[in-house]
């Protein structure tokens, strides 16, 4: 699974049920160059590229949920350790329950008592297990 979108872009870096997106079309060379540049600047040596849990995740990306439905976050794939850190700090931690409040022009999700706005790209990297709304609005994260 790691090999799927690796070395191309965080947009298409796999995850079951999401498939591989291939790069193509005009602007390929320029984008590739830009991507590598950003990568060099952003990644710390020896660190996984902003993805938790590192191995194995099931479920669907957040973007496949409709407004008013929700699920439990089971994994994040951001392509960048710093971005992962920021999403975790916003409360998007595997185990919490999220609800999609709106999808356009940005995704807005309810995480506990907080609302968080995400763009399409970021929302694609949030994987959830769809679940009906629990009675308690914000249950504690599941024990690992």
């Amino acid at each position: 699974m790691r090999g799927c979108g690796q070395g191309r872009s965080r947009r298409g870096s796999g995850g079951p049920g999401f498939g591989c997106r291939q790069w193509g079309g005009p602007g390929l060379r320029l984008r590739g160059w830009r991507w590598r540049w950003g990568r060099r600047a952003g990644k710390r040596a020896g660190e996984e590229g902003g993805r938790v849990p590192v191995a194995g995740q099931a479920g669907v990306p957040l973007v496949s949920l409709v407004e008013g439905t929700g699920g439990r976050v089971i994994g994040l794939d951001t392509g960048d350790p710093l971005r992962l850190q920021r999403l975790l700090a916003l409360g998007l931690v595997p185990g919490v329950w999220v609800e999609v409040v709106q999808r356009f022009p940005c995704y807005v999700v309810q995480v506990g008592l907080t609302q968080v706005a995400l763009d399409l790209d970021t929302a694609r990297g949030v994987y959830v297990a769809p679940e009906p709304l629990p009675a308690e609005p914000s249950p504690p994260p599941a024990q690992p």
Binding site: R39, R86, G91, V101, C106, V108, A117, D119
Partner: protein, 485 residues
């Protein structure tokens, strides 16, 4: 004080606590944080904590680094994630025992307003209303119109300037007279400009901005603008410096610090220098072009088009990754008047301390430039360029002074129009070129400080070339197409 006074010490899962213990026992130097906090930062991979340890621990730093790396490799997941998950578990456990939530929360008006302002409908009409009342009516009409009129015309022109000029008339040397008073003196130009024009405009602007900030509206603005800003290589977060740029480009350039990547900082600084007119400039352009509504409309269309096209091109050419947009959206609240006023005054004070010396310096520079003949030389260099734009030679002075006082350039146009020297078409070309033209001295200084000399020089020369190139193009187009303005 009989119950619940037991201090709660949150503990992470035991394997993490062990790692924290191991690292913090190695830290011998003195730090601004507790050893436990330093250890957690090191384990999470915080760069600043790492360099602090290298400073304070000397030779032991390598050993600490090795231990941290070893611990990291023992865990299957990134440690920053495991630590964060630990925090959330502790917080959730604490909350479960202490927090009671109402079972059927009624949706208040605040909640509804919060939802409306996030959706395109009715969010975008609300956004237009906010811009119209907050910026056009409050900053433009009240600040730039009424307050400036009172302070500048009644206080300075009517009272202070005549007094100063009467006083300097007694001085024996003309160079000293011109340094202090008359048209470009430190008091009659520098101080008047900072106190009577800039201060009221940015004061009202800061007030409106603090109100929007405290009401929780700004993140919603960022959310709505995200897709549009992606077109120019930025994301929703950049709306804050860009809106500030409509107040003062100098301050906005400082605020580009809040953007995430150096790529975004560069693009935002560039767009602020090129296509975002500041409130001083905006006010005068409105006044000069308002007798010709079609010219005003064309001016707006050209500036927005330039912003989109140039922004899109720079988004494709500036290296670096797109950074994602993610932002916490706070609930809509009533701003507290005390907080709003405190913030407004703190910002005004900061602005005044930063900017007042620059304006005094500018009036000294103008004085020196006129006295030494450097300005005459610069005017001769500029004249062929203004001629290429189809403008009379008098316009060269407008451009030169425009660099020192961004709005003064446009105000100079006003004199040319009332003197019957400029036709409406020439006025449009000149207004567009001046809007795009290099920012004022203060903004250029801040660009050097924030982005470094290489980037600042590149931006300035690109802006100069674009301003004259596009002005030339517009002049030719108007000559061919020739709508009545």
């Amino acid at each position: 004080m009989t119950t619940s006074s037991v201090p709660v010490r949150p503990t992470l899962p035991p394997e993490l606590e062990g790692a924290v213990e191991q690292v913090s026992s190695l830290l011998k130097g003195s730090y601004p944080l507790a050893p436990r906090a330093m250890a957690l930062l090191l384990l999470a991979g915080d760069g600043e904590a790492g360099s602090l340890v290298r400073q304070r621990e000397g030779s032991a730093a390598e050993e600490i680094k090795r231990v941290v790396e070893q611990i990291r490799s023992q865990f299957g997941e990134p440690l920053n994630y495991l630590i964060m998950r630990g925090y959330y578990q502790v917080a959730a456990e604490l909350a479960q025992g202490t927090v009671v939530r109402p079972h059927s929360p009624l949706r208040s008006w605040g909640t509804r307003l919060g939802e409306w302002t996030m959706r395109p409908w009715p969010g975008i009409p609300i956004l237009l209303l906010v811009l119209y009342f907050g910026f056009y009516q409050a900053v433009g009409r009240f600040g730039a119109g009424w307050l400036v009129g009172y302070l500048e015309e009644d206080l300075f022109e009517g009272l202070i300037n005549p007094l100063v000029n009467a006083w300097v008339a007694a001085l024996p040397w003309s160079w000293l007279r011109e340094l202090i008073g008359l048209d470009y003196g430190v008091i009659t130009l520098g101080l008047r400009y900072a106190v009577a024009i800039i201060l009221p405009i940015v004061g009202v602007f800061f007030l409106v901005f603090s109100l929007l900030e405290d009401s929780g509206y700004l993140p919603r603005l960022a959310l709505l603008a995200d897709r549009a800003l992606k077109l120019v290589g930025l994301n929703g977060r950049a709306i804050i410096p860009l809106i500030l740029g409509l107040g003062c480009g100098t301050m906005a350039t400082v605020v580009t610090r809040t953007l995430e990547s150096s790529r975004e900082k560069l693009i935002a600084t560039f767009l602020l220098a090129l296509a975002v007119p500041c409130s001083a400039q905006l006010g005068v352009i409105m006044a000069v072009l308002s007798p010709y509504p079609r010219a005003l409309l064309l001016w707006g269309a050209v500036v927005v088009l330039v912003m989109l096209v140039v922004g899109h091109l720079s988004a494709r050419l500036v290296p670096g990754d797109h950074s994602g947009f993610y932002l916490e959206i706070p609930p809509i609240r009533w701003p507290r008047p005390g907080n709003v006023l405190t913030k407004t005054f703190a910002r005004m004070r900061w602005y005044f301390i930063e900017i007042l010396p620059l304006f005094l310096l500018v009036s000294v520079l103008i004085w020196a430039g006129r006295l030494s003949g450097v300005f005459d030389l610069a005017l001769r260099v500029l004249t062929p360029f203004t001629a290429a734009l189809g403008l009379p030679p008098e316009a060269a002075a407008v451009f030169l002074y425009g660099f020192f006082r961004r709005d003064y350039g446009v105000a100079g146009l006003y004199d040319l129009v009332s003197g019957g020297i400029l036709s409406p078409k020439q006025l449009l070309v000149a207004a567009v070129t001046l809007t795009l033209f290099v920012p004022c001295v203060a903004q250029a200084t801040v660009m050097f400080r924030e982005r470094g000399p290489r980037a600042a020089l590149a931006i300035l020369s690109l802006v100069l070339a674009l301003a004259f190139g596009l002005g030339y193009l517009l002049n030719r187009l108007l000559a061919i197409w020739g709508p009545a303005l």
